[in-house]
Symmetry: C2
Subunit: 774 residues, 2 copies
């Protein structure tokens, strides 16, 4: 068990490394040649120009103004200065609300801290002063971990009551601020949505699972369905094409074009020598040819292929997916269509809010309903195995990668390996590398799983991946650290233990692990966050790219990797700190200041990063808040169960019944919040929609909405194409939608009625449709 000294050393090292990171950042950010690394957001917004364009050469690279170094910590007030509304405007609501999670953490940890302080103070004044001082002094003298959990380990009855009262106080306080925060965030979301300017997704609904019709194309089928069922509101629609291959080709063409630019630049500088290239893999092998000619030919070939593929996608019915973006004349009608069931068969004509165009995940738009259930099942089973059995292949790889085996199968390496330094390095390095690689690729694996499950927007993919990452962390970081045993062993022991024994096992282990988690917070939290602001990896990669790869100005733009918040990895990390805070708040409050420091530091750092670095990939208007809230609640319930387990082992079984109300109250609090605030995140109130519609009608009575929506939900590949052609003439779109004569043959004349006609009875819809048609 670590002593006070050990903790001190660890704290020293970590504080030092955090400080080093912060100072390094403060200096590096002032150097002009790092400008694109530390302020990419402003470049992307077009608000900042490359400082390398003007001034002396040295000044372009190194900042020689000594005054700026004095104020090197200025970035902190800079980051804090921007007010929230401006931040929302600058980086989107998602980012602003994401920062509020850190603030929430600060508030919770700080209040818990204060309550303990009050508690001690009041004890000090009112009760048993001498006894408390005595025991405190005695505890102080003790080794550190015992001090951490002194209150639990000594079994004065009075102290158990303190813990019980504290548990209630924390729960009520936590619920109070969680409710307040949920209310604020949902109000922010509604206000954001209400004050937004016109956006295509406000008018548009994504329709999936359009049933196949033998007589009509998907486009006609969609048009007829919505003309019949939303006659006063339907405006236009856009079918979804499978343009994945086309997108591939366009990407390839762009790359070749870039190479061509590079070679032409090279040739124009040195007219004597035509640049040459090799046709093989990465230009490293194969026949040597004239580079400019080769690239020109390649581009021509690709252009032709793209034109062919584009034609094929547009005309081949097989590449039309049974899904469409349907737009309505008013927000009201879109809100109605998104929230209602259209067809008798609830697996056909599924409607949901269209994500914003840049948030759409195009590949998943055509997964049929039955397949979705199966995919979800497979993903859950796979995730279960990933969580509990991932150690098996890693252990297997580790057992393969030992020095003896390497020497056996690759004897020529023997002389090198046998060098003592290299040998010890390999021995220390190899066993860990498989695990390390796995942990690095884990978020990617989880994102792939979410993609496989068939989510339709990038934001929902990230939300699902975040949930899974949190569970993985909970099992494989938190529980494994606490109980010391792999997840699989835990699973086994939990299956064979009684439900009341599990909280006891964990509860008893919790106070013992306080020192470990303090170290963890300092390494992963403090130093990790300080490392985040330094952006060492993007810094190095940018300069490497700038040196070796960057051929054109466009390349430099692309070498600048601003990254994004990374909700799928960032949020689960925060949640781990919430979990630690809640679990330790009652038992070992010494952990609280460490968590408080983490939240405060992370808030400042991420505020800076969001303002200056991260690029916003999509705007989901804080759709992730219910997840965040739910995970905090589950951590609360977990901590309460653990506390009950701990109490019952410490000879305080008589207080346990007083704690049983806590999880029940917390779960009902969650239910209440779910009912009260969650609808703001999944539904769109008609009142709101009607209000915006009415205002817009008053302001812009002659708006050409059809023109506005025409190209909004076209596949990004076509979008670029059509933007170039710019063939959108307003006269082309009549304000009134017209009835398209149906190509559907009258069923009454066909001898055998077609069986696939939307799941509804084949005769009735025809009657209705025909009664509406001229």
């Amino acid at each position: 068990m670590a002593t006070f000294g050990d903790i001190g050393v660890a704290a020293g090292i970590n504080i030092l490394s955090a400080l080093v990171f912060l100072i390094a950042f403060a200096i590096l950010r002032l150097q002009p040649f790092n400008d694109r690394v530390y302020f990419p957001k402003w470049y992307l917004k077009g608000l900042r120009e490359s400082p390398t364009h003007s001034g002396a050469f040295v000044k372009k690279i190194v900042n020689l103004d000594w005054r700026s170094y004095i104020k090197f910590l200025n970035w902190v007030p800079d980051a804090m200065k921007m007010p929230e509304p401006e931040l929302i405007d600058h980086a989107g609501l998602d980012s602003a609300v994401y920062l509020r999670i850190y603030l929430l953490g600060c508030a919770m940890a700080f209040q818990q801290f204060l309550e303990w302080f009050n508690c001690f103070l009041s004890l000090f004044i009112k009760l048993n002063v001498s006894l408390l001082i005595q025991s405190m002094i005695q505890d102080m003298m003790d080794i550190f971990p015992l001090m951490c959990c002194m209150i639990v380990l000594s079994s004065t009855k009075f102290r158990f009551w303190t813990h019980t009262v504290m548990a209630y106080a924390f729960t009520f306080w936590a619920c109070y601020i969680l409710r307040k925060e949920y209310a604020i965030v949902s109000a922010m979301r509604l206000h954001f949505i209400a004050s937004e300017r016109r956006r295509p997704d406000q008018f548009t609904v994504l329709v999936k699972n359009v049933p196949p019709d033998p007589d009509e194309t998907v486009s006609e089928s969609v048009e007829h369905f919505f003309l019949v069922n939303h006659p006063d509101h339907y405006l236009t629609h856009q079918v979804v094409c499978n343009a994945n291959k086309l997108a591939e080709l366009v990407k390839e063409k762009k790359k070749k074009q870039n190479w061509l630019d590079y070679y032409q630049l090279k040739y124009s500088r040195n007219q004597l020598k035509r640049p040459m290239t090799k046709t093989g893999f990465l230009g490293l092998c194969g026949e040597k040819v004239d580079a400019i000619d080769y690239q020109t030919a390649e581009i021509e070939r690709l252009s032709k292929e793209i034109a062919e593929e584009s034609e094929r996608v547009k005309n081949d019915p097989k590449s039309i997916m049974p899904a469409a973006f349907v737009s309505f004349k008013t927000r009201w009608a879109a809100a109605v269509c998104a929230q209602t069931q259209q067809s008798r068969n609830p697996t056909l004509w599924l409607t949901e809010w269209a994500p914003e165009p840049r948030d759409v995940f195009w590949d998943n738009l055509a997964i049929p309903y039955v397949s979705l259930t199966i995919r979800r099942l497979i993903a859950s089973v796979a995730f279960f195995f990933l969580t509990f059995f991932f150690m098996i292949p890693i252990t297997f790889v580790q057992s393969l990668a030992n020095i003896e085996d390497i020497e056996k199968y690759a004897p020529f390496l023997k002389p090198i390996i046998e060098v003592p330094v290299i040998k010890s390095f390999i021995q220390g390095f190899l066993p860990g590398i498989a695990l390390k690689i796995f942990l690095i690729v884990l978020p990617t694996i989880l994102m792939l799983m979410s993609k496989f499950e068939g989510f339709l927007s990038i934001s929902s993919l990230e939300r699902r991946a975040a949930t899974r990452y949190y569970i993985f962390n909970f099992v494989n970081v938190f529980l494994v650290s606490v109980i010391a045993g792999t997840a699989l062993q835990q699973l086994k022991s939990f299956l064979h233990q009684s439900p009341s024994a599990i909280p006891k096992t964990i509860g008893v282990a919790i106070p013992m692990k306080a020192t470990f988690f303090i170290t963890y917070i300092m390494v992963d939290g403090w130093a990790g966050v300080a490392g985040e602001i330094l952006r060492l990896k993007p810094l190095i990669i940018f300069h490497l790219k700038n040196f070796f790869v960057v051929k054109t100005e466009k390349d430099r733009e692309e070498a600048m990797d601003p990254g994004s918040i990374g909700f799928n990895t960032g949020e689960p990390q925060i949640q781990l700190y919430f979990l630690l805070g809640l679990v330790y708040a009652v038992v070992t409050p010494v952990l609280l200041p460490f968590i408080l420091v983490f939240f405060a530091l992370a808030y400042v750092v991420f505020r800076h990063q969001i303002i200056n670095v991260y690029n916003q990939e999509y705007e989901s208007a804080a759709a992730f808040w219910p997840d965040v809230h739910g995970r905090i609640i589950s951590a609360m319930v977990f901590s309460q169960l653990i506390l009950m387990g701990l109490m019952s082992t410490k000879g305080a079984a008589n207080t346990t019944p007083f704690l049983i109300a806590l999880p029940i109250l917390t779960i009902y609090f969650h239910k209440f919040c779910k009912g009260r605030y969650e609808p703001a995140f999944i539904r769109y109130p008609l009142q709101e929609a009607m209000m915006k519609d009415t205002l817009e009608r008053a302001r812009e009575p002659n708006l050409n909405l059809k023109g506005y929506l025409h190209n909004a939900y076209i596949h990004p590949v076509f979008k670029n194409e059509e933007d170039d052609e710019d063939d959108i003439s307003p006269e082309k779109f009549e304000q009134e939608s017209v009835l398209v004569p149906t190509k559907r043959q009258s069923r009454r004349n066909t001898p055998v009625p077609s069986k696939i006609s939307g799941g509804s009875s084949p005769s009735l819809p025809d009657v209705v449709e025909e009664s509406l048609l001229p």
Copy 2:
């Protein structure tokens, strides 16, 4: 343990009593004086007239036609003859689908039976014939319970595989027919709804939690809100009044009126003596007065009170509840409004489908949102205590009610009690009576709980009570019988056992209890169902009432107590048999024929009762099916876990992993069904609504819908009143709804804006509203 002989005796007794019941019924139903007991449904429908009105006096009471006695079992084909569509027409979809549950039970039990038969047959032919015969003969010679569970108790590995294969076969078969049944029922429901004639609830939405407005009444507030947010569709509305006191008064007046009729009849028969009555409790004590004068005075007093109360309810704003039934011009608009969120604040302006008028539970219409969450919490906690701790007060009552105590506290009873016959009767009777009374009032307690929870329709009250009753039965009948220990003891042992030990404990006990459950099925199932058709209690009560209470013809109508299906008690009982069937199907197939007989018998009996006896209280269009389906699924998962537990104890742990996929597949099957079919039970597709609207518009272009809907959702008390007055003139209702000038004061002139204005920002809605108003 019961032997083959014991079972035989039990079977004999129960079959005999069932036969006695059936024969008694067959004879009694032919007697004309029982006609109102056995055919009340036809009286209620007005399709049958009292046979006592015509013919000789003896013939009125006893059936002397000997031929009808020969065909005394004719009721069975009679009950089976009515085809399903006619049954739906006659008794409603709820009843028809309710019968399908029995059919489903038959199908499942029969198929399980067949599969075992096949299995044995194929074994017999293909495998190890001599060995099997040997063991079968040996088993046959064995005592009965061992025969029941022979396959499990003998541990040939081959036989474990048989069980595993059987478990899979049963699961797939069960899923197959469950899916088919779900599809059929949801199609029946949709067809029923689609083919229904015009009903008020198709156009109407129930709006709850109308926010208070200082400037407007609830009625005005509702009208304005819907005129603004559904401008093209809003038709009319009906606010909900708290008329509970008024209903009470009306009921009292009716009773007095009935007494008056009785006394007047008595006086007209015997003009010599004015009938007298006492004014006190039940006419048994108090001053003696002239009965006719007294009742006339009472009626006059009540009439005045009713008029006053009615006036008060209509005008006092305090008796107007913040809820309203809002009707729309089309079904489409009602479907839209019911499925969407109206206001920013999701706890205000809550909309849901209006139940049909007779299904509304008026008392619960004004419970605010926050209170609902708390009520639900209290009800769950109360139900938990009811389930696990109900034995405590009963044991307490039992301990009080022993003979010594009675003798001690009421010594004057001693001589009577000391008579040996009476003493032994009391000793045998007393301990059981508290439990018996509790079990009889349990469904009423559960219904009260559901009412307390705030459900708005009688059908949903019954559904919730059914769920609770099933859980109670599962814990206190099934588990208590299997494990032998009160629910509380079980709860304790389950908390301290490992999760994998619980299925083992239950699994091992299951085969041992086969004989007990066979007896249970015969007593509760066979004899119970046969008793149901005899209707002994209503029969006796009807004749008693007829003899003592019935004063007028109207009373006779009321003495006839048809009862109803009683979903809240009947369905949980069926579910218990599903549970038994599923649990024993794999382990002890001997139980299957008993269950099969129960389902078949119950089907015939309840079909007869539904056609001839039960009165339909409401029509929910089979809204209960998702619950039925869910409970069967949960029984399946339970049986699979039990099987796993049993297998692992019987030295067949190696087959357990093969079984683990079963519950996972079953749960995902449930998820699939939920997504595929459940929406048909909770949402109303727009396509369907639009179709009906279009057809209706074509058929009846000049329909006065406002007149039709005017009185549909008025409180039943007022309804009778207004029906009498019959003041509905069609001219009174204009086809076009007009804009009502708002009484709301402009906020711009008031110095402090009112804070309670619907949760949305106070300025915007006014702008919108005023822009719409002249």
